[in-house]
């Protein structure tokens, strides 16, 4: 079994035709499905939030069988994720894609649990604290993409569970939780 770092690759990754877009509809549907799952799994495993279509992304080529995905194929697989709400294009030209291996509402829930576990129910944290503080070490919040985090926090704000405010001394934003 081939691996990328500590990530175990699925069998189809070694089967050359999966790197060529299939012309027959049913075969292609299956192909897209497999790639979608692989991209989400890999990003979740490696905590990747952004895929640049023009950068080298280890998942999009397999040197062992000397195959790599065409630009068209990459865009199609990511577009399929976008359609399902598991990814978003970050620009009009579809060059960068934000991967939501956890949906925004799941992130919001995750943050609530995190807050409860660490006793911040009525406390204040800076956004940067959440991303790189001691408390978040070892959780999925460590190194979370800022855009994703802000979206989740804003969702919590809408629900009245958090208030985001501008810090006075730094330009970092603060969050007051009221869970």
């Amino acid at each position: 079994m081939q691996r990328l770092g500590d990530f175990k690759l699925p069998h189809f990754f070694n089967y050359p035709p999966y790197f060529t877009l299939q012309p027959v509809r049913e075969t292609r549907d299956k192909q897209v499905q497999l790639w979608k799952e692989l991209i989400l799994d890999y990003c979740r495993n490696q905590k990747i939030f952004v895929i640049g279509l023009e950068d080298d992304f280890p998942l999009f080529s397999n040197p062992v069988i000397e195959r790599s995905l065409s630009h068209e194929a990459k865009e199609l697989f990511l577009a399929a994720l976008v359609n399902e709400g598991r990814a978003e294009w970050m620009d009009k030209g579809h060059k960068k894609c934000l991967i939501l291996w956890m949906r925004i509402q799941d992130w919001a829930e995750y943050i609530i649990n995190f807050v409860k576990e660490n006793g911040f129910e009525d406390g204040v944290m800076t956004v940067e604290d959440i991303r790189s503080g001691i408390e978040s070490r070892g959780t999925d919040l460590a190194g979370i993409d800022r855009t994703v985090l802000m979206r989740a926090l804003r969702l919590l704000e809408q629900k009245g569970k958090a208030t985001i405010f501008k810090g006075t001394s730094t330009d970092d934003e603060g969050v007051k939780f009221s869970v």
Partner: protein, 252 residues
């Protein structure tokens, strides 16, 4: 013997015929009884054997296939009914019933990948993975038996031989000679190119193309345009399963 005229003569002839028939019937009856007795003895012995080796039959696939062979020779089909003595004794009907259901499931699940044609070995591997918890192991013979029982459903489950491999077909597609030849050829590397096909069978490029396209449409083939030489390869998941059971394992 001089034919004697008269009614008495006719009566005697009729009586003689009756006598012969009686004796004949008797002989036949004795023979049948004897046969019946022998068969009964045999059946008892077979039952005794089955009872004694119940566990072996259940757990050991080789033993099971030999037992089936023996049963077939004497015209006993332990799978004929799930209610009969055999099924009750061995639970063997349930075994194949369960196997059949699992086979159908696997065939349906892998259909999008292989177009409804799966290598028997691959099927068996998947089956064993699925049955990890069950202690009885499954042989190819068991798979074949279970599949032959599925035929009753009329859903087109069939085992076909292509080259050295046995393939299980779960879609009612008819494979013609051309298809078969390409599938056989693909067993060597897992794929073929149109050029190779034309050269090997001396087909026109039109014919080769038609067959390849129809295999694509059936979902049996997948194209691969990624090779350096720029030639399109047609891969056949049914003869080169990607789970890497046939040497396609790669490590880096």
């Amino acid at each position: 013997m001089r034919r004697r005229p008269g009614i008495a003569g006719l009566q005697t002839a009729a009586a003689t015929r009756d006598q012969y028939r009686l004796v004949g019937d008797n002989v036949a009856k004795i023979r049948t009884d004897l046969m019946k007795e022998q068969l009964a003895t045999f059946r008892t012995q077979l039952e005794e054997f089955a009872r004694k080796h119940k566990n072996d039959i259940r757990k050991n696939p080789t033993f099971r296939s030999q037992f089936h062979e023996m049963c077939a020779k004497v015209g006993v089909d332990p799978l004929a009914s799930n209610k009969g003595f055999w099924a009750e004794l061995l639970g063997i009907g349930d075994f194949y019933y369960e196997l059949g259901v699992q086979i159908v499931n696997i065939c349906l699940e892998t259909r999008p990948q292989n177009g409804g044609l799966i290598d028997l070995q691959e099927l068996r591997n998947l089956l064993c993975q699925r049955r990890k918890s069950a202690r009885e192991s499954v042989s190819e013979d068991d798979c074949l038996r279970a599949i032959s029982k599925l035929k009753v459903l009329g859903s087109g489950f069939e085992v076909i031989s292509v080259g050295k491999k046995k393939l299980v077909r779960s879609v009612p597609t008819e494979l013609n000679r051309d298809h078969n030849e390409i599938l056989e050829m693909a067993q060597a590397h897992g794929y073929v190119t149109a050029e190779e096909v034309e050269r090997k069978f001396s087909w026109s490029s039109g014919r080769a193309n038609d067959v390849l396209v129809s295999l694509l449409e059936e979902g049996l083939a997948m194209i691969d345009d990624g090779h350096r030489d720029g030639k399109r390869r047609y891969w056949f998941p049914c003869v080169s399963p990607m789970s890497g059971t046939s040497g396609s394992d790669q490590k880096i």
